[in-house]
Amino acid sequence: MDITTKMPHQSWGQKYHIKTLSLVLLTVGLVLLSAQVSGVDLAMFFTNIDQFTNLLVRMSHPDWAYVTIIWQPILETLQMAIIGTTIGTLFAVPFAFLAASNIVKNSWLHGLVRFFLDLVRTLPDLLLAAIFVAVFGIGSTAGVVTLAIFSFGMISKLFYEVIETIDDGPIEAMESVGANKLQVVHMAVLPQVLNPFISYFLYTLEINVRASTVLGYLGAGGIGVYLQRSLNEFDYSQTAAIIIMTLVVVLVINVLSDYLRERLV
């Protein structure tokens, strides 16, 4: 018997992979459109390549003497990150509980809280910094407030996701003996979430140390102030020294935080 008579019917769309093909075409179209909107011109990059390499050459000779001057602002950056992250976390904890669907059963309420948190998370750190420099004036206060709000948005989301994955057993047990909401949180929820909370706190601190190094670029304190100064004065050997020093500090903080987080698990 001829096998072709038994073969299932293949639709036109399946045969020519219409779905995949149109997705690929759509992507290519968007790429071309974006290239046009943003004025990307490969040739331009290569005609100016000598300027770029010149800059790289100057950056490859870091001004090591400058390190003694920038040491203090780098530490200030770290202090900003620690305080900012801590303030943000303190505010985030109650919001995380309100946003967790297994704590707040009212879906209307935790939906509203989540939407508020989503709103907070839409704003990038440097944008917040620009606004808070306008409010508080130039200095590290603006930086701390920026980092506090930024970590609030991030931590509250990470925390409520942790809370939602906990084991319900202890909660039911506490509810069955007539405990109120706060007692349930204290006795049944906190013990389960403490370690992941600390771990995510350290993770956010890591990210904030990285972020805080550039906040000063807009006047929000720390090493970024010096970064901006060196770039404005075209002193790229100083820029290189700053970048290398912040790289070192960020890497040390990463290693420390990784070590602590591994111990927590």
């Binding site: 992507t27 790429v31 331009m44 202090q79 839409t122 750190d125 306008a134 590290s140 550039v214 970048i243």
Partner: protein, 269 residues
């Protein structure tokens, strides 16, 4: 439950007093951070400025939304999205070889290859994006092009890491099958490795796009195109209704992109 006294003693000083050490360390760290930080720099006008900002946000400059000049909110938001999109796509292509470089293979003895790859990716990730943008402005002049280049290079740090983890955790069954039917190395890669890993790569690229949209909004603050430039200008000239409408535009753009990309990513897995 009974515990013998000997066991209690064996628990040792560390277990009993360890938390004290930690408490002390934490106290010292916070003491140092609070003492060193000069938070006195709050200007006298802080209250009135906050009031005018809030007033501006509640009375946004609607006329700025679209005026056909190409310098209005809608045009610049689209430009921001273009920077983020193009930068992310370019970065995704650059990230693939980096990811295979940094992914741990089964037979590697000293992990020199993957270790060096991971280190390079960490360095790229830590290099501040706005410094990259400023460097590229030197090469191609101020504007979106510099922004695209900054996003393309900076995103490699994170995408390369995510991709390499996807490769490490990949189920290599399909590869094994193509080897077993006599496929050559390029057939194994094109017919088994890529189709298996592609959905994850695309999902991570979408995720990175969400982040790139946020960074593209601030790259303009150093002159690398998009909505950041007029935003910074409006803040510096204290044009709060203008700040209000731009903030609104950014919030709506980010929320829309996040939910769109989130839905696409859910479909992929």
């Amino acid at each position: 439950m009974e515990k013998s006294p000997e066991l209690e003693i064996k628990k040792g000083y560390y277990d009993r007093y360890g938390w004290l050490v930690w408490a002390l360390i934490i106290l010292v760290v916070y003491g140092w951070a609070l003492k060193g930080l000069k938070l006195s720099g709050i200007q006298a006008s802080a209250g009135s400025v906050s009031k005018s900002i809030l007033a501006g946000i509640f009375h946004p400059d609607w006329a700025y939304v679209y005026n056909g000049s190409g310098e209005d909110l809608v045009s610049l938001i689209l430009q921001t999205l273009a920077i983020a999109f193009l930068g992310t796509i370019i970065s995704a292509f650059i990230s693939v070889p980096f990811a295979f470089w940094a992914a741990r293979g089964g037979h590697e003895k000293w992990r020199l290859r993957s270790g060096s790859g991971k280190l390079v990716l960490t360095l790229i990730r830590t290099f501040p994006e706005i410094v990259l943008a400023i460097m590229f402005i030197k090469a191609v002049g101020p504007g979106s092009y510099a922004g695209v280049l900054a996003v393309s290079v900076h995103s490699v740090g994170m995408l390369g890491k995510l991709f390499s983890e996807a490769i490490e955790n990949m189920d290599n069954g399909a590869e094994e099958a193509i080897v077993s039917v006599g496929g050559n190395a390029s057939q194994v890669f094109m017919l088994a490795t890529l189709p298996t890993i592609m959905p994850e790569f695309i999902s991570y690229t979408l995720y990175r796009f969400e982040i790139a949209v946020r960074s593209a909004t601030i790259l303009g603050m150093v002159g690398a195109g998009g909505i950041g430039t007029p935003m910074l200008f409006a803040i510096q000239t204290r044009n709060w209704p203008r700040v209000g409408i731009i903030l609104l535009g950014i919030v709506i753009m980010v929320l829309m992109i996040d939910s769109l990309s989130g839905q696409l990513r859910k479909k992929l897995v």
